[in-house]
Every structure is written in C-alpha cells, then in structure tokens.
Amino acid sequence: MKTQEIGSLAKPNWRVKHLRGLSLNEEDIAELRYWNGLLNVDFDYRLLESRSPDKIAKHSALLAIRLLEMAGLDVVFDGEQLRGEMYEYPLRHLSGFAFRGVVRSFDNKYYRKASCVSKPKLLEPYHIEEYLFTRQNTSKEIKVPVTGPYTLAEWSYDEYYTRKYLDLGLGHREAKLKAKEELVMDLAREVIRPNLEALVNAGARIIQVDEPALTTKPNEVPMFVEAFNEMSSGLDCKLVVHVCYGDYSLLLPHVLNLKNCSQLALEFANRDDENRTGYRVLGLFKEYLYERELGLGVVDVHSDYIESPELVKNRIIYASRFIEPDKIYVNPDCGLRTRTWRVAYQKLRNMVLGAKLAKEELEVD
C-alpha cells in the first residue's frame, strides 16, 4: 500500500511574483526562508534581485520534491512547479487551438478557455524537462501527470470540427457528438501519444493521465476508452488514470476495457461524511469485479481542515471492504494547488501516518 501525490502544489507567492517581475515583500521572503530551512535546501538569495525565472522555478520544484519526500510519500513529482497548470500549459505546446477568454470554474476560480480552430498537432513534447529535473533530484519513484485527450477536448470550445459536421448537414447535437469523437481521437493520436512516447524514451516509468472531465458527459466515457487504448498501445510504462469530482458509477463497466491501465486514482474525501458515504460507490467496483490498483483519495484538497491520521486510516479500512488492500494506493483527492504549502504538508504528513496505521491494522506492506 504505497502513498502518492496526484500532481500539483500551489505556486508560492515568491515564485509567482518573481516570474511576473514583481517585488517580493518580507512575508514572501520569510516563507521562502521557512521552507529552505525546514527542507534543508541551499539557496542564493541574490537570485531574487536578478531576473532569474528559470532558476527560481527550479528552486520551487526542488522544494516541492523535498516537501513530498519529507511528508513521507513513496511516489513523488515536482508539484507541477515547472508548468503553468494542466490545461493552458499543454495547449500552448500545440497548434490548432486559440484562446478565447476566461471563464469561471467555481466561486472565484477561473480558467482561460481555448477553442479548437484546426486539427491539433504537437509542436514539441512538453513534460520532458520536468521529468528529468525530478529524476535528478529524487531517488523515490516518480509519477508524471499528463492531461488526457478527453479533458483537453471537454474543457475547450470547438469551432473547427463542429462547423465541419454542421456544414455536412447534421443536426446540432449529432454534429457536436461527431465533432467531439474526432477531436478526442486526434488529440490522443497527434498530441498525447507522441508526448507519452517521449516521456517513456526519457525514462519515465509511471505516467498519470489526468482526466478530471471524464464523467462530465455520461455517454462519452467509451469515447475516452477508445482514445486511451489508441494512445497507450504498446507503451512500456505503468499508466494511471486520474478522475475526480464526478459520478464514478458512469465509469463502469467501460473502464474495464482500458487495455494498458494499471490504476484508477480517484477523489472520495470531498464527498465523505462520518458514515463513509463518499466511499460507498466502491461497492459498485467490487460488483463489477474491478481488480486493478485503486488510488484512494483520502484528503480533501478544497478545505484547510487537516484530516487526522485516524480519519485517513478509517477511510482506507472502509475502502478495503471493496478493494484488496494490496491494490490500494493512498493519495489526496486531487492536486493540492489550492492549499498553502503548510496546509498541504500537514495533510500529506497525516495521510502517510494514516496509511501506516491502516497497513498495521490490515497487516499489509
């Protein structure tokens, strides 16, 4: 029963401000000093006075790796400190998309949304540097998160393929569906597959395909399965699929047809209560004889509440009714980018302690 992260940590103020050319205040510098001290990482503070965005971003990535190591995780990454985020960053490395503006995700959280305006093509693989940097700086197992084709398509508008099918005389709904199928498959073939190949060739052993949008449209899960099988065929690495904030009953039975996927990593803690309501859907996984690994979300990434090790343990023990304990990986619900590093660290630390308690009780490694 290993512990792992899901991807992102927050970008610290000192990193964001430096990259934007803004001056740091005392609080920002104190925060940087705090983490340098706690994680025992050397830093040349004169860098802050020059324009060194690359070095500052790498320092932030190094601290993120150390933070995850110190929390005790078995599988780590760089907190996604060397990429902007999971949607805009990949799209900036392909042709075929144009950014249209900013829309809301929830509350006062937004994202810049693009529209597909021509057939997508990869300009260059975009996660190699991150992977190599992490590999140089840790001896732990590394899992590289890569945004999947369905999510890139679902989070975008589509003017190109939809127009094509409307011009062929299809009705609006049918045109949208055909357009989506073609867009997802083109992204899988032309963008994600060469990216995954490049990562494997660089040495990556575990890759997580992030598909937070996967349950958005109930009838489209098979569309992803087909695209995933196309893009992952024959790849010599372990592939994980991460999904969050949706109705997981929609995944079944379709995900059983994923051919080269070892693990589903899912969010549960966000929807949990004292009756373990959030984890009950796992009964359905048992019913469908799901036998692969399961990444079990045990800490909520949208709350500052620090889950106790006991609560983490209870969630794992409950999940073990449905999933063999040695198939469980313990992780946060999702990336922790909306929490401060202090909160993220405490959550992850307790997650690791809770996993240890669960392992003792379940008598597994």
Partner: protein, 290 residues
C-alpha cells in the same frame, strides 16, 4: 419579441481581477463592491442598448445557482463541490438539514428586473436531502420560500430554471408541483419555466397542467411543439462558434408564440466578449423577426 438573458452571465475581465484580488486580500471590500456594481451596470446598459428586456444584473454575486438560497433560507447548509450538469463548472450542493423557509436578505442578489431561480424539481434533484421524509413536502416548502422571496423583492418577472427536467424522470406529482409553484408566481407577475441542457419534451406535461409560459432549449434539445407562450433558447451558450442570423431566424420562425429569444442557458460558460457577440446576434434576430 424581445431578446433576454436567462441566467448567470460571464464576468468581465475587470470583475474577474477584482474577485481574485479580493480573495487574496489585495483589494478592499469597498473597492470590490465598486467593481461588482460597475460590472452590473455595464451589463444592464449593454442589455438596454441591445433591446433586451427584462434585464438581469448578471447574477455576478451568485457563486452558483444555489448559493443565495443557502445563505438566505432556513434549513439549508453548504455541501460538497459538485459538477453542475455536464459542465466544467461546479456548485456547492445544498444540504437540507431542517425545514426549509425563507429567512431574509435576498435583496442583495437581485438588481435587475427579473429573478432567475432554480425551480422546485431542479432544487430537489440537485440538493442532498437529510431532513424530509416526503420529497413533495420538500418541494412545497421550497416553492413557498421562493414565493416569499418574490413578494419581498417585488420583481415583475420570475424565471424558474428546470434543467433537471431534461435528464431526470419526473413523476406526475413532480410536474404537478412545478405547475403549482408557477401559477402562484404568475399571480404576482410574469412567470416562465425554463428547461435547458437537453430535450424539453417534459414541457408538454407542464403545458397539460396549465403552465402557459415555457422556455425551451432548441440548441441542445429537439424542438417540441407547444401552444404556450415561449422563451426560445436558440443561441448556444456553451460554444464560441457564432451562429448565422439566417439559421437563427429559421429556427425562430418554426414557433408561433415566441415572446423572448434567448441563449439556451447561462452565458457564464462563455468569455464576456463572446457572450456579447451572441447578445448582439440575438438583438439582430429579434429585430429581423419582430
């Protein structure tokens, strides 16, 4: 025939910046409220200039379609972040923990001349009930609370949003209660039940029950023949691809009693500039088909 908006509008860049800065402690509450007011006034002016009526204020201080309810009704609490239908947009699910009734304080959420609010069936389907044994009683208490809000606000236009009618299977008793809520609101002013995000065939059941003003989505749903007054959701609020005026005019002309033409759903799914382009399109189409 007038163009009108049907829900939460996309936020202009200045308001997006203000909300971000306010959240991060970089903007005072006073300056944030000023930015909010500017955005509301700008949208109301855009609507006036383009002939939209009734106007909405953009619902810019609604964090989601349910948040003002949770904040002003007794018996509700904030629940988990949950996907809003098939969108990359999330809402905090209302948790029903006690008997529902209107408390006070809704006025700050409505500055336009129209109130858009979840209908009783959509409220039932998208909330988490931990109190009522009888879901019809839940719907009744919720409808009573909406009625109290409308009376207090004194608005003359009310739109009950019922997107859940496109994806759930309401029983006759549910449709009865939607019709009951509608008729009560109609006694105060103009009321419309708007169905969107898919096929709107449940509108026929509402028509049978005396609901005489219905909004339908003809972008994502198949057209349905109605004898009622119609709010026609004809412009796609979930894609930036701009429709041709000719296509829209053809769609509008298929229906007899179209009182309003509108985007099919909330325009918050589009960036502000694209929402504005589609509003201008609606204005042109309304002018051409008037």
């Amino acid at each position: 025939m007038k163009p009108t908006l049907v829900g939460i509008h996309s936020r202009p860049d200045a308001l997006i910046e203000a909300t971000r800065d306010f959240d991060r402690g970089r903007l005072s509450r006073e300056d944030f409220l000023k930015a909010l007011k500017n955005a509301e006034e700008m949208l109301i002016k855009e609507q006036a200039d383009l002939g939209f009526s009734p106007t909405v204020d953009g619902m810019y201080n609604w964090q989601d379609l349910f948040r003002p309810l949770v904040e002003t009704f007794n018996g509700l609490a904030l629940g988990p972040l949950t996907r809003f239908f098939d969108n990359n947009t999330f809402y905090k699910k209302p948790l029903i923990i006690n008997k529902i009734s209107y408390r006070s304080g809704f006025k700050k959420y409505v500055k336009g001349s129209k109130l858009v609010i979840p209908g009783p069936y959509t409220f039932l389907k998208l909330s988490s009930n931990n109190f009522y044994e009888d879901e019809l009683e839940l719907m009744r208490d919720y409808s009573n609370s909406i009625y109290e809000v409308v009376k207090e606000l004194g608005v003359k236009h009310v739109q009950l949003n019922e997107p859940s009618l496109t994806c759930a299977e309401p029983e006759d008793c549910h449709l009865d209660l939607i019709a009951e809520a509608f008729k009560r609101l109609r006694s105060v002013g103009e009321a419309v039940v708007h169905i969107y995000f898919g096929d709107c065939d449940k509108a026929l059941g509402l028509q049978e029950r005396g609901v005489d003003f219905i909004g339908i989505d003809v972008v994502e749903g198949q057209p349905v023949e109605l004898d009622t007054k119609i709010l026609l959701g004809v412009v796609d609020s979930r894609n930036t691809l701009l429709e041709s005026p000719e296509h829209l005019i053809r769609m509008v002309e298929k229906f007899d009693d179209v009182v309003y033409i509108a985007p099919n759903c909330d325009m918050e799914f589009l960036p502000y500039e694209y929402a504005l382009r589609k509003m201008k399109l609606l204005s042109i189409v309304a002018g051409e088909t008037r």
